[in-house]
Amino acid sequence: MSMLALLVPLFPLLAGVISFFFRRLPGAFHATISVVLLIPSVVFAIVLFLYVHAHPGVVLRQVIPWLVLPSFSIHVGIQVNALTALMLVIVTFVSILVFMFSYGYLRTDERLSIYYSYLNLFVFSMLALVLSPNLLQLYLFWEMVGLCSYLLVGYWFAKPEAARAARKSFVVTRIGDAGLFAGILLLGFAAGTFNDADYSILARHGTLALPWLSEPYLVTLATLLIFIGAVGKSAQLPLHVWLPDAMEGPTPVSALIHAATMVAAGVYLVAREFPLFAESHVTMTVVAYVGAVTALFASLIAITQQDIKRVIAYSTVSQLGYMMLALGIGAYADGVFHLFTHAFFKALLFLAAGSVIHALGGTQDLALMGGLRRKMPITFYTFLAGALALSGIFPFAGFWSKDAILGAAMAKGDWVLYLLGLIAAFCTAFYIFRVVFLTFAGAPRDEDLHAHAHEGGWVMTVPLVILGLFATFAGFINTPWNDDFLSRFLTATKTPKPIPASYSHWPLTSMAISLAVGLCGIGLAAWMYGGGKGFRKVPSAFKPWYALSRNKFYVDEVYSWTVVRGGKLLAALVDLVDRYLIEGLTRLVGLFFYGIGNVLRYTQTGQIQTYGTFALVGLVVFLVVAVFRVGGVF
């Protein structure tokens, strides 16, 4: 079985290598080989999922030594538990659909071989990350995932915005990575191993400490540092700024980043370290509040964005906030459940948006859309399914998972978190249906673009339909009727402190409130934007608030004026010091030596003599010391 797990990431790696080295083959070849080679990975992932389900609590593990430190050995390999098995299914399944869709979207691109090799490397890295048997390997592939996102966001490198967005995505997530790096190293040193499965046990026994930091503080510090890594990767406040810009990459890449391969890593990390996080009350509170505030904050930004991909991008930030919120209040299974459903409906929304963008010849501006419902029925109905799932409308996938989180917050009696989540849910329904109405309803605002719009062929519509079905029905994996199948699956793993399967037990009040709030949001969107109207009236009606949201609460500007400019100023200062102060001092010293040189070489000229002087000085000192010692002067 562990052999099977090893093979899951190797197929995309193989496909990536083939695509990279056989540049001259046509694009269709690269698309085909990528999709075909990913099929066994999907199958194996499902087999592993069933295997883990049949053997609750099983952990498959296979490692080889990687580096022997003086302190201990580091291993690499694979490890599969319930969470891993679920992640493998999500990642491979979403990826294969994105691979397929990409060919339709980028058919005419010249660099498809590079595109598919990056895409495959991306999927490989994410799978290897998920399968990591220890935190060091996780970090290795955590960075590789970041690299692939950098490469793909900057895929159209000639566009200055893409070049900027790529660098921004790498640097901003790197800030988080520095935290994760520190957290991993602190824990590794304290525990004498990078095997994170041992950490929570050590923490329970109170043996996790450093010379300069004792047990409870170390756990809190290290988990907070690890959480910083997750904040960067999963685009939580205040490191969320890279994700909306990252949509400069091709749209299928956004689908992959937002659903399966990049931002999910942060949530996965927190879920993976959940037993350790649960040892620190401080960390858990921070996680919950960062998640809840991010959920609301991002959804407030999303309601005014005019770029269809930006709305969906902020929606991802917001939904990831829900997952963090769930993990922070201890609703482990609910958070992972939301990760699962979100992967399908978010991939769907991005691919459907991609279908629209493709149909309109590349425009992403909602101002130029409208009336596409009849032109693109498949895209419309699948997007609608995704929007309903995102809004949490019964019985779509998002209803179950989002309500499980809100229900858990309610059950815990944490009203602040619950309200933050509820308001965000209202905004969510509103902003996504604003997009639905502006894109598909009413009259076309640009007749020219509208006239040429068309569906993108089966390679694009088949993934949409499959994801549409999942966005509609995936929630049924975890309902009161099947006794919370997914929660039981996830919590069968043995941990020192048992993880509760579910907090909520599906209280009807919470379900009813969420549903009502969602419907209100849709209703408001219909009232303001239904039939494509209201597009121009709304901004002036809510002017200051609209501007605040539209400009993303000026977070980018604040960073630009503080951190970025501060850093550049410091760099310029160092440059000045280096070029003038130090260079000047050197010249001064040089002048001094030049003087000595003049004295010494009054009978000689040329460079060799200068050298000779120095060699001589060295030799003289050597001899003087020797003579003095031999003579017993010392």
Binding site: L69, P70, M144, R174, D177, A182, L186, A571, L573, Y611
Partner: protein, 511 residues
């Protein structure tokens, strides 16, 4: 096994003599001799790997050439001075780095018209001297090798530099000449002081001096009157190391040398010569004066992290690739110093990894940028943009070099980096946390350079058609370095094993 080390050392030596003595050959002939002998040395180093026993606690492949003897040199005992060579894990790692870089210089860098003889001669002399530096088994051999390196590199800079050759060469000579004086005084003083303190015969051999190190420390503790002498000696050693490693504010020679030198000499200086200082600190500081390293641990941490950040900020404000390369190297060396200063075994293993990695990555970037410059005639960012379009292969390698510079996992740079911080967090948490800033800054400056040169729209005023991407004849050496950097990053086990043995030698258990 000793004969292999003979070959390593004397292949370039013979090459140097042959080139110097054979008059009036064509440039091609000189280069042919150079390539053949440098290849012989590289193969012999490879063979050393297969014969090396990491488990052994002795120096291996020992070669002794007794030279002269001072009768009655010290309290009636004779002092025999000779050229002794041998390897341990640390030597082998750095010797391999030097052999690879020097071989690449021979096979892959352009020889300026009419300077074939000068180049072949001085590079081979430098090569001999560098190999000798890393394999010397006594202080005399080490110091002599350092002096010869200085001498040969000076002539390379003087004869081959692309710009401002006199000033660059003399600056190099002044700085590193002073450094070698510091090293001479410090190491000779150390030998005498240890002999005096222990009342034992004077010796210059590493093995004996290191064996005494433990004893010397104990004796000093007992005789507190003698305490100040070793500290003073160590401080001089440190000064010498700081200059050799180009640490701020004593670094001024280094960016100039990298900027003005021809590609080959820049690779020699940036890839190999900036590693000798750290080697000396490991060999003499950690291995022979461990107590002093511990006393000065905060100095090392301050200078180390200071350089890590200074180099990073200076690299951020760089406007051309060469300056970026030199300051990123300084930044990496700062981390090495920090790691050594912790005196923590994992961090010291990391420092060794960093030395090899930094040498490879610096060479990789210098070689790649020289290929770019051959086409664009400039490495200044304001004149470059969107090179990925006309030069996809070279831009790909440039991107790889930038990623390796920022210590991306699965490249060699990451291994040493995480080990250094691993030990650093245990010993100097505050410094380590500040040093994390370097992790972010390295991403900023590397990717800024990439964004400004290879990304963006391709806007070249000159004839775009003249930009022809590198053919295999040009890029295979870069690909080779790329593979090495990846190999160490993905499979660090072999090199780590060799370094592990060196860490155990340098830091004896209980020491």
């Amino acid at each position: 096994m000793a004969f292999l080390l003979w070959i390593v050392l004397f292949a370039p030596w013979i090459g140097f003599l042959a080139t110097a003595l054979l008059p009036r050959l064509s440039d091609r002939m000189y280069q042919a001799i150079h390539i053949v002998l440098q290849s012989v040395a590289l193969v012999a180093v490879g063979a050393l790997w297969s014969r090396f026993h990491p488990a052994s606690s002795h120096y291996q492949a020992v070669v002794r050439l007794p030279w002269f003897s001072f009768p009655d040199a010290w309290h009636g005992a004779n002092l025999t001075i000779g050229l002794n060579f041998g390897i341990d894990g640390l030597s082998l790692g750095l010797l391999s780095l030097a052999a690879v870089v020097l071989w690449l210089i021979a096979v892959s860098t352009r020889v300026p018209e009419g300077l074939g003889k000068a180049r072949a001669m001085w590079v081979q002399l430098a090569s001999f001297a560098v190999f000798a530096t890393f394999t010397a088994l006594n202080i005399f051999t080490f110091l002599l090798a350092i002096e010869v390196t200085l001498f040969a590199t000076f002539f390379l800079l003087l004869r081959l530099s692309e710009a401002d050759s006199q000033r660059t060469a003399i600056k190099f000579l002044l700085y590193r000449g002073v450094a070698s004086v510091f090293l001479i005084v410090s190491l000779v003083g150390f030998a005498f002081s240890s002999a005096a303190t222990m009342a034992e015969p004077l010796t210059l051999g590493y093995q004996q001096l290191a064996a005494r190190a433990q004893g010397v420390a104990t004796a000093n503790a007992a005789l507190s009157a003698h305490y100040s002498a070793p500290q003073w000696i160590f401080l001089l050693l440190l000064l010498g190391v700081f200059i050799e490693e180009a640490f701020v504010p004593l670094h001024n020679w280094f960016p100039d040398a990298i900027k003005n030198a021809d590609t080959g000499t820049a690779m020699l200086v940036g890839g190999v010569l900036t590693k000798t200082g750290a080697y000396a600190l490991l060999r003499f500081g950690v291995g022979m004066m461990p107590a002093d390293v511990k006393i000065f641990t905060y100095v090392l941490a301050t200078v180390g992290i200071g350089n890590l950040l200074y180099g990073a900020f200076a690299a951020w404000s760089a406007r051309d690739w060469r300056r970026l390369i030199s300051f990123s190297s300084i930044s990496h060396m700062g981390l090495v110093l920090f790691a050594i200063g912790t005196m923590q075994a994992d961090a010291i293993q990391g420092a060794m990894f960093l030395l090899v990695s930094s040498g490879l990555i610096t060479s990789l970037l210098l070689l790649t940028t020289s290929r770019v410059k051959a086409r664009t005639l400039t490495l200044e960012w304001r004149q470059l943009s969107g090179l990925a379009k006309p030069l996809p292969i070279l831009s790909g390698f440039l991107l790889f070099g930038a990623l390796a510079t920022l210590g991306l996992p699965l490249t060699s740079g990451f291994i040493g980096e995480f080990q250094s911080f691993f030990g650093g967090f245990a010993v100097h948490p505050t410094f380590a946390f500040i040093g994390l800033l370097g992790l972010i800054l390295s991403a900023v400056y590397s990717l800024t350079a990439i964004r400004k040169t290879t990304f963006g729209p391709f806007t070249d005023r000159a004839a775009a058609a003249a930009y022809e991407d590198a053919r295999m004849a040009e890029w295979w050496p870069i690909a080779l370095l790329t593979m090495l950097v990846l190999f160490i990053g993905i499979v660090p086990y072999p090199l780590g094993h060799v370094f592990l043995s060196a860490v155990h030698r340098l830091l004896p258990i209980g020491g």
